[in-house]
Amino acid sequence: MEFLQDLNIKTLFKPEFLNTLLHILIILIAGLIVVRLIAMIVGKTFTKKAGPQMKMLVRKVIVYTGWAVIILAVLSELGVKLSAILGAAGIVGIAVGIASQKSLGSIISGFFLVSDKAFEVGDVIQIGDKVGVVHSIDLLSIKLKTLDNMLVRIPNDEIISSSVTNITRFPIRRMDFSIQVAYRTDLNQAREILLDIARQNPLCLDEPEPFFMFTDFGDSGIGIKFAVWFEKQNFVTVKNSVFPSIKNRFDEAGIEIPFPHTTLYTGEASIPFPVRVVEDDISEEKRSHHDKAAD
């Protein structure tokens, strides 16, 4: 630190100082070039087959390490004793290491995540209850841009222990519809209508074929699982076209989509509980009461 103590206007123009300044400048420029060169060579050779995330992580590690070396070299040139700094850095390192266990865990998890290739920047993923487009994969966390345009930061160590669903990994997807039809429905007709809806909709893929299955005898009707395949980017359009088509075509064919209801029987199957409208009787009764009161 003697250098800093001796720093005054006179010393600024001494040849030693200018010499040191020149050395620092050379170290900075040469260091920057070397770091960039190493990052470029590694990027083009060792990580040639790696994905963009791995490339980004390796590049960041090289750049940060390179800058650390450059800073140490500059400090050394300024007359700072590196042994003391490195000794102190060792102690600080232990302290920081203990304090930043989670962060270190996240960094290591980040490497595992990237090598796992479960998702890439631009994929739509679901982690827990969060769904969004992968905005960036960084050393400590990934950032998700949610569908309502919010940025969610999720630490890497949290992701590594959670299940991740990659919604857009494959180019085509299947959309499932759970439908109920009334018990009196002609099931073959319902099946034909649903398959025809898929055939008529140009966004529904012909192959793989639409899926159709009767699922259960429910409380209110017979359950059907109907599924169509589509290109992943057409999710909303397919949903918004198939959904009303089912309702409209069922309405046209007189097929009822039942809501939960209960039919009461008087002990004999298929004969419903007798209900008598008594409104007229009540009115009659009220009228006679009124007449009596008037008398």
Partner: protein
């Protein structure tokens, strides 16, 4: 549906048209209806689709402004004329054999199919051609060909592969595509679907119909890609033909691609 057969394509069907400013022209092609209007440095195109195929195709007929149609606007530099070109679809097309077809080992089959043609609207300025848009003559549904990871998106087509002799389509909006499949393996080729790489085909026009160059496919076995070769000249029909559309994607002398789909592949999905 009775479709009127036209012996010859109308004169200048695919040629250049000189549009007056604010003039409307009308095309009816397959299920497609198109109105084109010239507004100097701007072209306007409106389209609609009919429920059924048209029975009376129309090409560049003078027309009135359509009521209630949504116009697409295309801003260009000053252009001299307009051309409506036939082009093949931009993705492969999946077709099925008309009847269960089994090509035995070391045998070959000569087949043909009809491919639906699109219209490409082109504004012409001297030697420069500006593609404004493309319009399918009918909306084809999409289909998936291959497995989930390496497969590709194609158009599904209801037409079938038919055996020769080649029959020109009665409708202008189909191009006749000859196909020769050679099974060079020792096992029988029993396929459910065939992938026609329309993006590599050249489109020719004859007097009566549109044609593509012949596709020759060599089948080596179910687990191997097939070798596809595209003829460099139009099929021999006795007609004089000229090129109306070059292949969308250039290709080398032959391609190695998956071309057949088997029952086994379909059930894997």
């Amino acid at each position: 549906m009775a479709v009127k057969k036209h012996k010859e394509l109308p004169e200048g069907t695919w040629g250049r048209i000189n549009f007056q400013r604010d003039e409307f022209r009308y095309w009816e092609f397959g299920k497609l209806r198109l109105w084109v209007k010239n507004e100097g440095n701007e072209w306007r195109i409106a389209r609609e689709y009919l429920e059924e195929m048209t029975t009376a195709p129309r090409f560049a007929e003078p027309a009135e402004e359509p009521a209630g149609s949504a116009w697409n606007r295309y801003i260009t530099e000053k252009t001299d004329s307009f051309q409506m070109k036939p082009v093949l679809p931009d993705r492969p097309i999946i077709v099925r054999p008309e009847f269960p077809l089994k090509i035995l080992g070391d045998s070959s089959a000569a087949l043909f199919l009809h491919i639906p043609v699109w219209l490409q609207a082109v504004a012409v300025s001297g030697k420069n051609e500006l593609v404004l848009d493309e319009f399918p003559s009918e909306m084809l549904s999409s289909t998936w060909f291959g497995d989930m990871k390496t497969g590709e998106l194609c158009y599904a087509f209801k037409e079938y592969l038919k055996p020769l002799p080649m029959v020109p389509s009665e409708q202008y909006w189909f191009a006749v595509c000859p196909l020769v499949i050679r099974n060079t393996s020792q096992t029988a080729l029993d396929f459910q679907r065939f992938c026609v790489r329309a993006e590599h085909l050249t489109l020719y026009t004859g007097k009566e119909s549109l044609y593509t160059n012949e596709i020759q496919v060599r089948f080596f076995g179910e687990d191997q890609s097939s070798q596809m070769t595209f003829a460099s000249r139009p099929p021999e029909t006795g007609e004089t033909m000229k090129v109306v559309a070059e292949p969308r994607e250039p290709y080398s002398s032959s391609l190695l691609k998956k071309s057949f789909s088997f029952l086994k592949t379909l059930t894997e999905i």
